[in-house]
């Protein structure tokens, strides 16, 4: 038995702040004992890809933890990502640990690599990959983090004559 929760703060996304799931997380009870087992989130891998994509389109610079999250969702080691964007791996490591600030070009290069790698893994995302090119950064308030809201969206699978569901994420910046 499952019960869909109106709002659920997912703390195990791999980010230092929770991600808000709207009408998507399910409280699950044991089929025979009826005991509440815990919370299930459908398609956690696709969810992570949708959140990582949304962060790529966030108009403020990425924090170290956000860069690390995006890299992990991409399934790349630090050395692999650094090589992909022509960056020294030690620089990437310091960036991920908030010990070094990199230029906007490096920030954007990582986002472009991520969008290319992740766009097919989050097919329900409403973000348009081509928009990353025109992204301009605005200052990020000190010690702030964005609010990320995610919801399940349905689309028609013509071949299967059924509805398929996927994740779409939106980043809301702190005022």
């Amino acid at each position: 038995m499952t019960h869909v929760l109106d709002r659920y703060e997912e703390k195990l996304m791999g980010l230092p702040y929770p991600v808000v799931l709207l009408n998507a997380a399910e409280e699950v009870t044991h089929p025979t004992t009826g005991k509440v087992l815990g919370v299930a989130i459908p398609d956690a891998e696709e969810l992570a890809a949708a959140v990582a994509l949304a962060l790529c389109f966030m108009p403020t610079r990425l924090s170290g933890a956000e860069v690390r999250f995006i890299r992990r969702v991409m399934g790349m080691t630090g050395q692999e990502l650094a090589a992909a964007v022509e960056m020294d791996s030690a620089t990437l490591s310091r960036w991920e640990h908030d010990k070094q600030i990199v230029g906007a070009w490096a920030d954007k290069a990582v986002r472009m690599a991520a969008v290319l790698r992740l766009q097919d893994r989050a097919p329900a995302s409403s973000l348009r990959p081509e928009d990353i090119v025109g992204l301009h950064f605005v200052p990020r308030p000190a010690d702030s983090h964005p609010t990320i809201e995610v919801h399940r969206v349905g689309s028609e699978d013509v071949a299967a004559e059924s509805e398929v569901k996927g994740w779409d994420a939106e980043v809301l910046l702190a005022a």
Partner: protein, 95 residues
């Protein structure tokens, strides 16, 4: 590796209605080891059953081996609930 159980696990995780449920204990271990939900789900979808245990309550659990996003070895202990559910009992970092 337990081939038969690994095959059963694939059938569970490939179900369109597959659900991975985390117990409170599993959530605590994942936070301690800095593991994300998607990494544990990935292990269940691609890993191999390497141990089978029977708890005192009669519940059978499978230990599934795989790697996190950084390539480090982890093992995920689950209670399989066919046809489409797996309850994650705990998560262990190996080495």
């Amino acid at each position: 590796m337990y081939r038969q159980e690994t095959t059963k696990l694939r059938m569970i995780t490939r179900s369109p209605t597959f659900r991975m449920v985390l117990t409170d204990h599993a959530e605590e271990r994942m936070a301690e080891y800095d593991l994300a939900r998607f990494e544990v789900e990935k292990v269940l979808k691609a890993g191999a059953v390497v141990m089978i245990d029977m708890e005192a309550s009669g519940t059978e659990t499978w230990r599934v081996a795989g790697r996190d996003a950084d390539g480090k070895r982890i093992e995920v202990v689950i209670e399989p609930l066919p046809p489409s559910m797996a309850v994650v009992v705990t998560v262990i970092r190996v080495g």
